[in-house]
C-alpha cells in the first residue's frame, strides 16, 4: 500500500526554531495580496490599454468636436470652445427630428409590448421542452443579420412586391407603405421584437403560478387578474424590454435608411448626414453625445430596476 506517509523530515523537535522560512508577518500577507492584485492588473492591461486607446480617446475627441465650431468651408475650427452646437439642438429642424425620433421609438416600443406580452405569456406557460423549442425559434431571428432582415421588408413592401399583391387581393387596393413612417416602425418592430420577448418571458416565467390562481380565486375575472396580478408582477420585464427596444430604436440608422428613404429622417440618420454630407461635425458630435447620454441614463434605470442581462 502506497498510502502511508513518506518518511518524516528530520526537523527540529517541538518548540524548536523553524527551518527555512520565517514566521508569517502582516508584511508577507500584504505582499501576497499585492502580488495578486498585480497579476489581475496585468491580465486586464491589454484590454484596458486597447479600450483607452481606441475607445476613451475617440470618445474624448467627440466631446472636443461637439464644442468646436464649423467654419465656412465645412471644416472644423478647434480653437475657441463653445456650446453653440448644443444650442442648435433647440432649433426647429433639429428639434423636429428629435421629437419625431422619440415618437417613432415610443410607438415601436408600445407595439412591441402589446405583441410580445401574450406571445411571451404563451411561451412561459408551455412545458419546459416545448418552451425551449419555442425560445430557440425566437433566438434565430434575434441572431440573424440585421441588415438582411431589414432588406427583406424592403423586398416585401416594394412596388409590385408581395405586400402590394396581398392588399390588392384583399380588396383594399394596392397599398404601398414603403418609405413611410409606417414602414420604418414596421422594420423597427421586426428588428427589436425579440428584445421585448426575452425579458418579458424571463419575468413571466419567474412568477409563481399559485399567485395567479389566488388571483383567479379572489377576483374571478381574467382581465382583473391580468391588470392586478400578472402585469404588476411582470413589471421588471416590461421595463427592461421597453428600454431594450426604445433605446436602439431612438438611435436607429439602418432601418430608416432602408425602409424610410429620405423622407423620414431619424436622429441616427441625421447624425450620419452631418458627417458624410452636411459636414457639420460639431453638430453631429453634440447629437452623438446627447444620444449617448440618453442611452446611459436608460441603462442606469435598467440596472436600478434589477435587470442584469445585457
Amino acid at each position: 500500500m502506497t498510502l502511508t506517509a513518506p518518511p518524516l523530515p528530520t526537523g527540529p523537535g517541538p518548540g524548536g526554531a523553524g527551518t527555512g522560512l520565517p514566521e508569517v508577518t502582516p508584511e508577507f500577507e500584504r505582499a501576497a495580496a499585492r502580488a495578486d492584485s498585480r497579476r489581475g492588473f496585468l491580465m486586464s492591461l491589454p484590454a484596458y490599454v486597447y479600450l483607452v486607446l481606441f475607445f476613451t480617446i475617440p470618445f474624448g475627441i467627440v466631446v472636443v468636436y461637439s464644442l468646436a465650431t464649423r467654419n465656412t468651408i465645412g471644416g472644423t475650427d478647434l480653437a475657441g470652445w463653445n456650446l453653440d452646437s448644443y444650442r442648435r439642438l433647440a432649433e426647429p429642424i433639429v428639434r423636429d427630428i428629435l421629437f419625431r425620433s422619440v415618437w417613432i421609438a415610443m410607438l415601436t416600443t408600445l407595439i412591441c409590448l402589446v405583441v410580445a406580452y401574450p406571445f411571451s405569456y404563451f411561451i412561459a406557460t408551455r412545458t419546459p421542452t416545448i418552451r425551449n423549442i419555442l425560445l430557440v425559434f425566437v433566438m434565430i431571428p434575434f441572431w440573424t443579420n440585421f441588415l438582411v432582415r431589414n432588406y427583406a421588408w424592403r423586398v416585401i413592401l416594394g412596388s409590385d412586391g408581395p405586400f402590394a399583391a396581398v392588399t390588392e387581393a384583399l380588396g383594399v387596393g394596392r397599398q404601398e407603405i414603403l418609405f413611410t413612417h409606417s414602414a420604418v416602425i414596421l422594420g423597427l418592430v421586426y428588428g427589436y421584437l425579440p428584445f421585448m420577448v426575452l425579458p418579458l418571458y424571463a419575468a413571466i416565467e419567474r412568477i409563481d403560478g399559485s399567485l395567479i390562481e389566488a388571483g383567479r380565486d379572489l377576483y374571478a375575472s381574467g382581465a382583473q387578474t391580468f391588470w392586478r396580478v400578472l402585469l404588476p408582477l411582470s413589471m421588471p420585464g416590461v421595463l427592461a424590454g421597453s428600454i431594450l427596444v426604445f433605446v436602439p430604436s431612438l438611435g436607429a440608422y439602418v432601418t430608416p435608411q432602408i425602409l424610410g428613404g429620405g423622407k423620414s429622417t431619424m436622429l441616427g440618420s441625421y447624425i450620419v448626414v452631418q458627417f458624410l454630407t452636411a459636414r457639420n461635425w460639431p453638430l453631429g458630435a453634440s447629437l452623438s453625445f446627447v444620444l449617448m447620454t440618453v442611452m446611459l441614463t436608460a441603462t442606469l434605470i435598467y440596472f436600478r430596476a434589477g435587470g442584469r442581462k445585457l
Binding site: F41, M43, S44, A47, Y48, L51, F54, F55, T56, I57, P58, F59, I61, V62, P118, F122, A124, T125, N132, L135, V136, M139, I140, P141, W143, T144, N145, L147, V148, R149, A152, W153, V155, I156, G158, D160, G161, P162, L193, F195, P199, E205, E213, R216, T225, L244, G251, A252, Y253, V254, Q257, G268, F275, W281, S288, L291, M295, T299, Y302, L310
Partner: protein
C-alpha cells in the same frame, strides 16, 4: 414556473396560441420570402418569375462583392481572435482578482456594449481621420482607412461582448475547483490550463461566435471606419440598397443569411452544452449588437 391560467379550449387559450403563430409567421415569413425571391427570374426584387440561379452567378462574378466578402471574413476572423484573447483575459482579471482601477475598468468594458452604434461610428470616424493625423505627425504612422481601421473598431466592441459572455461562465463556475487544483500540486498556470480553461471553454466558444456574428453584421461602425478602398460585405450591400434594389442583392442577402444561421446553430449547440452543465436558461445570453445597442 407559472401555470397556464387560460383553460384549454377557452377563447383566451385560442387567442394566445393564435397570437403565437402569427408572431412566428411574422418572424419567419420575410426571411422565407427573401430566400424564394433570390431564385426568381424577374428583374423586380419582389416578384416571382420562374426559377433561376443567375443572381448567385452574378454574385460570384462580381469582383467588388467578392472583395468585400473576403474583407468581411478576414476582419471577422482577426477581430474575433484578438478580442477573444483580450476579452478572456479581462474576464479572468475581473472575476478572479481584485486590483486597483478595477471599477473603472469594469465600467469602461461595459461602455462599448451600451453606447449607440451611431455614436461609436462617429467616434471611430473622428479618431481615424483626426486622431490619426496627430499620430502621423508624432510617430510617422501611416494608417489609411481600410482593413486595419475596420478591424481595430470591431475589436473595440467585440472585447466587451466576449468578456461579458466569458464572465458569465466564470461566475457560474465553482471557484473551489481552482482551489482543489492548487491543493493537488498544480501551479497557477496548470490550474488554469487543466481546470479553468476546460470549464470556461463553452463560454469562450460562445463569446467567439458572438464576436463573429457581430463583426459580420456590423454596418454603421464599419461604414465610418472604412475608406474608399476596401469595405465589408454588409457595408457594400448597404450602399447598393441605397442606390436601388436589384435581385442580385437578394442573392447576396441570402448568402449572409446562411452565414448567420450557421453561426446561430453553432451558438445554440455550445449553448446546449452550457445549459446541460449549468442549467441556465436560454434567455441568459447577452444581447447582441445590431443597428444600435443599449
Amino acid at each position: 414556473m407559472i401555470g397556464g391560467t387560460a383553460r384549454p379550449g377557452s377563447v383566451t387559450a385560442w387567442a394566445l396560441s393564435g397570437t403565437a403563430w402569427v408572431v412566428y409567421a411574422f418572424f419567419y415569413a420575410p426571411i422565407v420570402l427573401l430566400v424564394v425571391f433570390s431564385f426568381s427570374d424577374d428583374r423586380n426584387v419582389g416578384r416571382w418569375g420562374g426559377f433561376t440561379l443567375s443572381w448567385y452567378e452574378q454574385f460570384i462574378d462580381h469582383s467588388q462583392l467578392q472583395n468585400s466578402l473576403w474583407v468581411s471574413i478576414r476582419v471577422a476572423l482577426l477581430s474575433t481572435a484578438i478580442s477573444v484573447v483580450l476579452g478572456t483575459l479581462a474576464a479572468l482579471a475581473l472575476e478572479r482578482f481584485r486590483f486597483r482601477g478595477q471599477r473603472v475598468f469594469d465600467a469602461l468594458l461595459y461602455l462599448p456594449i451600451i453606447i449607440p452604434d451611431v455614436t461609436m461610428a462617429v467616434m471611430m470616424l473622428l479618431f481615424f481621420s483626426e486622431g490619426i493625423r496627430i499620430a502621423e505627425l508624432l510617430f510617422g504612422l501611416d494608417l489609411t482607412k481600410g482593413f486595419t481601421t475596420i478591424t481595430i473598431s470591431h475589436i473595440a466592441f467585440n472585447i466587451s461582448f466576449v468578456s461579458v459572455v466569458v464572465r458569465a461562465r466564470l461566475s457560474g463556475m465553482n471557484e473551489q475547483l481552482e482551489e482543489a487544483a492548487l491543493d493537488l500540486y498544480a501551479n497557477r498556470w496548470r490550474s488554469f490550463r487543466y481546470v479553468t480553461l476546460p470549464q470556461i471553454a463553452p463560454g469562450i466558444a460562445g463569446g467567439a461566435l458572438l464576436a463573429l456574428t457581430l463583426s459580420l453584421d456590423d454596418v454603421v461602425v464599419t461604414q465610418f471606419a472604412s475608406g474608399p478602398g476596401s469595405t465589408t460585405l454588409p457595408v457594400f450591400v448597404f450602399g447598393m440598397i441605397r442606390r436601388g434594389v436589384t435581385p442580385l442583392i437578394n442573392a447576396v442577402s441570402v448568402v449572409m443569411l446562411a452565414a448567420s444561421i450557421v453561426l446561430v446553430i453553432l451558438s445554440l449547440v455550445t449553448q446546449r452544452l452550457r445549459t446541460g452543465e449549468t442549467g441556465r436558461s436560454l434567455g441568459d445570453r447577452p444581447r447582441r449588437r445590431s443597428d444600435s445597442s443599449v
